[in-house]
């Protein structure tokens, strides 16, 4: 396929939505952090720009590459994901009580983020290779184990947020793989039982699966009267930030952000910065970009050349939707506090590059799908 055809088959709407989100993100990181480093307002935004650039380069490579090639490496990729996460426990420095990174000198490599991409690619291949066994309980259970193993490792870092993202990715892949509804319902029931056990029953029996702070954060959105100086503080400040934005935002008067009342303002709570600075209008504009993005991802699932591409595209759409819901919901006080970043907006290289890799995958799926469509059409004509 030559460049011209490649460009023609590219999903331009998806690309524009992605670039729009990236622009929005860099501007927001700038707005959130311009006062954080005295004398260097671009400190964080510039780094975010670099990550976006690197991510876009990787995206282009993946878009051009036929994703079929990744399929051959599925076991190597899966093994790499597990090994790199495990390596964090050995090499990772403890930051705020958890080990999530491997310092590479120029870059802090975060395997759990990369694992999202890798597991998407590997697990979709794993499933599609076993299409004939789709309706068997055995395959569903094995697939669950397949995804829960890396998720559990990430959970032990501990990084509850990313662990749930990996879990949800697995569910999304199963869903688009076409797993029997009965299986899906059983999994949903099991998730609810486990959640209740972990949050309520086991602590009463004296077995703490989660740390106290994790339970506090998970339950804080249910109890709005929590002490403003503790777990509820972040959520309360985020809600004040969003609420005070009003319709058109506070612009340069965004004191919640500028005076640092809003914690994690360029990472987990960046949506609150959007809400405060640009108000309802800005937030809705952002939602429109995301909606566009999700539409194209789901469209790629239907256009895909083959089952493999379709399942991956569906899984990617699921993962993005989940992250949007949890991150924005957290800033709006309707979701638990988990450290899940807002795709393309939250500051952070690992998530940025991973997300753009997923976009590259979507583009690849779109390009191949469109190509196959055309080919089939010609074949049919001939």
């Amino acid at each position: 396929m030559d460049l011209r055809e490649l460009l023609r088959r590219l999903d331009w709407v998806l690309l524009l939505a992605t670039l729009g989100l990236l622009t929005y993100g860099v501007l927001m990181v700038y707005a959130a952090t311009e006062l954080d480093v005295p004398g260097d307002p671009w400190h964080w935004a510039f780094r975010q720009l670099i990550y976006a650039g690197v991510g876009l380069a990787v995206m282009v490579v993946l878009a051009v590459l036929d994703y079929e090639r990744l399929r051959r490496w599925q076991w190597a990729l899966y093994g790499f994901a597990l090994a790199s996460i495990a390596l964090v426990f050995v090499l990772g420095p403890i930051t705020r009580g958890s080990r999530r990174w491997i310092p590479l000198g120029f870059f802090d490599f975060q395997p759990s983020q990369l694992a999202i991409f890798v597991i998407c690619v590997a697990m979709a291949a794993f499933l599609v290779d076993r299409l004939d066994a789709r309706d068997s309980w055995r395959l569903t259970l094995v697939a669950l184990g397949y995804v829960l193993l890396p998720a559990a490792l990430v959970f032990l870092e501990p990084d509850l947020g990313t662990a749930t993202v990996i879990g949800v990715l697995g569910l999304g892949l199963l869903f688009f793989f076409g797993t029997d509804w009965k299986h899906l319902v059983a999994i949903a029931a099991a998730v609810i039982v486990v959640a209740v056990m972990v949050l309520q029953v086991l602590p009463m029996l004296g077995l703490q699966v989660l740390n106290d702070y994790q339970i506090d954060r998970l339950t804080v959105f249910m109890d709005k009267s929590v002490d403003p100086a503790s777990a509820g503080y972040n959520v309360r400040q985020a809600m004040i930030a969003v609420g005070s934005g009003g319709f058109s935002g506070r612009g340069d008067l965004a004191t919640q952000t500028q005076l640092a009342f809003l914690p994690e303002h360029h990472t987990d709570f960046i949506f609150a910065v959007v809400g405060e600075r640009w108000g309802f209008a800005g937030a809705v504009g952002l939602l429109v970009l995301y909606a566009l993005f999700l539409w194209r991802a789901l469209r790629a699932a239907t256009l895909a050349r083959d089952m493999y591409g379709s399942v991956m595209a569906g899984g990617i759409a699921t993962v993005f939707l989940y992250q949007l819901l949890v991150n924005m919901g957290m800033a709006l006080g309707i979701m638990p506090v988990t450290g899940i970043p807002l795709p393309f907006l939250s500051y952070g290289g690992a998530a940025m590059i991973t997300n753009l890799m997923l976009v590259g995958l979507l583009q690849s799926i779109h390009i191949r799908g469109s190509e196959a469509f055309a080919v089939r059409a010609r074949v049919a004509l001939e």
């Binding site: 969003v242 005076l259 009342f261 108000g279 949007l324 080919v375």
Partner: protein, 736 residues
């Protein structure tokens, strides 16, 4: 489909190779893949599942949109207010206190700029706080416990953290853990319900006995008013050199700030220190008191003297500044909307600083005289100068004295030693109103009026004095004249201070039962507070049979509860259980001078604003009638004049030939185990001309020996100042 085809044909004039190649390649792959995978189009379930996820996405976006609309559009205003609550903080701007002046307008207390050291505990990295406190305490030469206390003022702090801090500070400074804890606890907030737990935990962690800790925890603050981002004042009034030193050490002292402020200045030094009082931060106990219910922790209030009494006038109105702060409470900028502080009104006192100075010097001179006469223990005294007609205090002196500014910003070790060693003799103790002494012979005027009014004697009743007096098997001597005064009437007995005459009166009162002498004592102003507008006054004591019964109810000797003849006889010469303050004595003598009116002593004259306009006249209650007849008063007046002027009078050596008609009585109080206490109670002139003022002067010298030789000459120095006289050397009359 046709659109795609059209494009292909349009496609850049490469109709042969590329699409063909692509097609071949792709056709091959579709075939090849067919074995392993199936095209999406053959799987109808994918479309349905995509629709389902799209539906979920629509739902999620609807929820987010609704929530955004709810927060931003519906409740936006409320959150704007919350954001402003977050960022805007009112900072108290302390008003300057008003000035304090004497009656002539001479400034006694002013405000002077000073440098203040404070610490913002929030800005100190947690691990460094103990180190900062230790270093600060050594730089400021304050006990480390004290610095810790000030840094933690009414802050809520987790118990483990407090224990750690105390332990680290103690370790770092070499101070005992208990001492640091004891100093720190009174300024830490501990909720009432937590006190038992906190005590147990502190005592265990720091291994200090639980009993002790419990006592200290009792003193902890009950109301949380301090916050970690407030600047906690550690010391006020530091020197420039120290400020520079602190700036140089800034790297090792994070969170420590030096800033400009004001503190009380005393242009007259120690003058009238007891009367003026001090200012200082409100204490934990005071915060509980009703008087101070409008004050907050950290407020500076009058801590004694007229600063205390007239605090409401002097303190002014604190202002506020609206400051924008960041999430750590650090001020970023001032925003409009604050209120300027209003300086307090000034207080004009009835004091005349010239007379006050004279009175204080007179005490010093009297003590020097006492030392010359080998009364080496003499080391304290008091003097009262009062307008006899209305109770205005012209001077109120107590020795030893202190620097009134000493408490502002913490007392240093040297100052502490200077003021609290035994030889310092309690300089903060106001002997004019807080100490009670045996009235001794000065009490005889009370005897005289009581006896005259009760009909025990007439002015012409005489008793013989042979140098001693025996009744009920006990003998008392006439202390002044052991050989006997011979037969004396009342005037002679007062003038010559004959004890035997008054023993007879005491015995007569004993015979009449009842409490006539005690009643007259109280009517003349003894045994109860005078009502002066200076805090801390004591009541003194006028003993009665009833008091004896209560006082000795638990005594092992059952006869203690009985009022015996000796009690009456002792009371008659102002000894025994009788206790009076110099100020009470001044009120009694004022009543004799002014014809029997009991005045309320007061030091506040009026309150004036910055331009000197009177805001409020400070009127003391109108004088009350004591009930003594003019006739009795006149007799006593004349006798007192004789005492000072007649050739046999007890203070003739001091006031004989004095240009002003002084009426005065010496007194020599006996205190078990101590040298005699010297009194001189007097007033002058005897008959003030129209428009002329009549002054009462009372001097007491602790362990100064004879009243005539130390107290009376001191009084004369004061009269010299009052009447602009120069009456020569300090000399006394060795009689009493």
């Amino acid at each position: 489909m046709s659109r795609r085809r059209g494009r292909w044909q349009h496609g850049a004039g490469l109709p042969t190779s590329s699409p063909l190649l692509g097609r071949k390649d792709s056709a091959f792959r579709v075939q090849r893949l067919g074995r392993r995978d199936r095209p999406v189009t053959e799987l109808p379930s994918v479309g349905r599942r995509v629709l389902i996820l799209a539906g979920v996405a629509v739902l999620v976006f609807s929820v987010l949109l609704f929530r955004l609309w709810f927060l931003q559009i519906l409740s936006g205003q409320q959150y704007v207010a919350a954001a402003n609550d977050n960022r805007l903080r009112s900072v108290k701007l302390e008003a300057r206190r008003g000035l304090i002046m004497d009656r002539e307008g001479k400034i006694l207390v002013t405000n002077k700029p000073s440098l203040v050291v404070g610490i913002r505990p929030m800005d100190v990295p947690q691990d460094d706080l103990a180190g900062v406190i230790v270093e600060l305490s050594s730089v400021l030469r304050m006990p480390p416990g004290e610095v810790l206390a000030r840094a933690l003022r009414s802050m809520e702090i987790p118990t483990e953290r407090l224990a750690d801090l105390v332990a680290e500070v103690a370790r770092g400074s070499g101070e005992a853990t208990g001492a640091v804890l004891k100093a720190a606890l009174p300024s830490v907030y501990v909720a009432e319900e937590d006190r038992a737990d906190v005590t147990a935990q502190l005592s265990e962690t720091l291994s200090v006995s639980e009993e002790k800790v419990a006592g200290w925890v009792e003193k902890a603050v009950h109301k949380r008013t301090g916050y970690a981002y407030d600047l906690a004042i550690i010391k006020k009034g530091i020197s420039k050199r120290l400020a520079i030193d602190l700036r140089e050490r800034a790297p090792s002292l994070p969170g420590v700030e030096v800033r400009k402020g004001f503190e009380r200045g005393y242009p007259q030094g120690t003058l009238a220190a007891h009367l003026l009082g001090t200012v200082g931060q409100i204490t934990a106990e005071q915060l509980e008191e009703d008087t101070w219910r409008r004050r907050r922790s950290g407020d500076v209030i009058g801590q004694g003297g007229v600063e205390y009494t007239y605090d409401e006038w002097l303190r002014g109105t604190d202002g506020t500044a609206k400051v924008e702060v960041d999430s750590l409470g650090r001020p970023k900028k001032t925003v409009p909307g604050g209120e300027l502080p209003q300086t307090g009104d000034s207080l004009v006192l009835t004091i005349d600083q010239r007379i006050q100075k004279a009175a204080e010097q007179a005490l010093v001179r009297a003590l020097e005289q006492a030392h010359r006469e080998d009364f080496w223990s003499a080391n304290g005294g008091a003097a009262v100068v009062m307008d006899a007609a209305n109770g205005e205090i012209i001077a109120l002196a107590s020795y030893p004295t202190f620097e009134p500014g000493v408490w502002s910003g913490g007392i240093s070790d040297e100052e502490h030693d200077k003021y609290f060693t035994a030889s310092a003799n309690k300089p903060f103790f106001d002997r004019a109103i807080q100490a009670s002494y045996p009235a001794a012979s000065t009490f005889k005027v009370v005897d005289a009026i009581a006896a005259l009014e009760s009909g025990v004697i007439t002015p012409y009743t005489t008793f013989p004095c042979e140098g001693d007096f025996t009744t009920h098997g006990l003998t008392w001597k006439c202390w002044v004249h052991p050989d006997g005064h011979g037969r004396l009437d009342l005037t002679g007995a007062i003038a010559q201070s004959c004890d035997v005459y008054f023993y007879n009166i005491g015995l007569a009162f004993y015979g009449r039962k009842g409490t006539e002498l005690a009643d007259w004592s109280r009517r003349l102003g003894l045994g109860k507070k005078t009502g002066i507008d200076v805090p801390g006054e004591i009541e003194g004591l006028v003993p009665t049979p009833e008091w004896r019964r209560e006082r000795f109810a638990d005594s092992s000797d059952p006869t203690d509860v009985l009022w015996k003849p000796g009690n009456s006889v002792n009371l008659a010469i102002g000894q025994g259980d009788l206790g009076v303050t110099p100020l009470q004595m001044a009120v009694t003598y004022a009543a004799i001078a002014n014809g029997g009116q009991i005045v309320t002593p007061h030091a506040g004259l009026r309150v004036v604003d910055a331009s000197g306009q009177t805001v409020q006249e400070l009127r003391a209650p109108e004088p009350r009638r004591s009930g003594a007849s003019q006739q009795s008063i006149k007799v006593v007046q004349a006798a007192l004049r004789q005492a000072a002027a007649s050739p046999v009078g007890t203070s003739v050596g001091v006031f004989g030939g004095y240009p002003v008609a002084v009426c005065g009585k010496t007194g020599t109080g006996e205190v078990f185990g101590k040298d005699d206490y010297a009194w001189y109670a007097s007033f002058a002139p005897q008959q003030p001309a129209e428009g002329e003022k009549q002054y009462v002067v009372v001097v007491l010298i602790e362990e100064g020996g004879h009243g005539g030789s130390t107290a009376a000459p001191a009084a004369r120095l004061i009269y010299d100042a009052l009447f602009d006289l120069q009456s020569g050397d300090f000399s006394g009359a060795p009689t009493d």
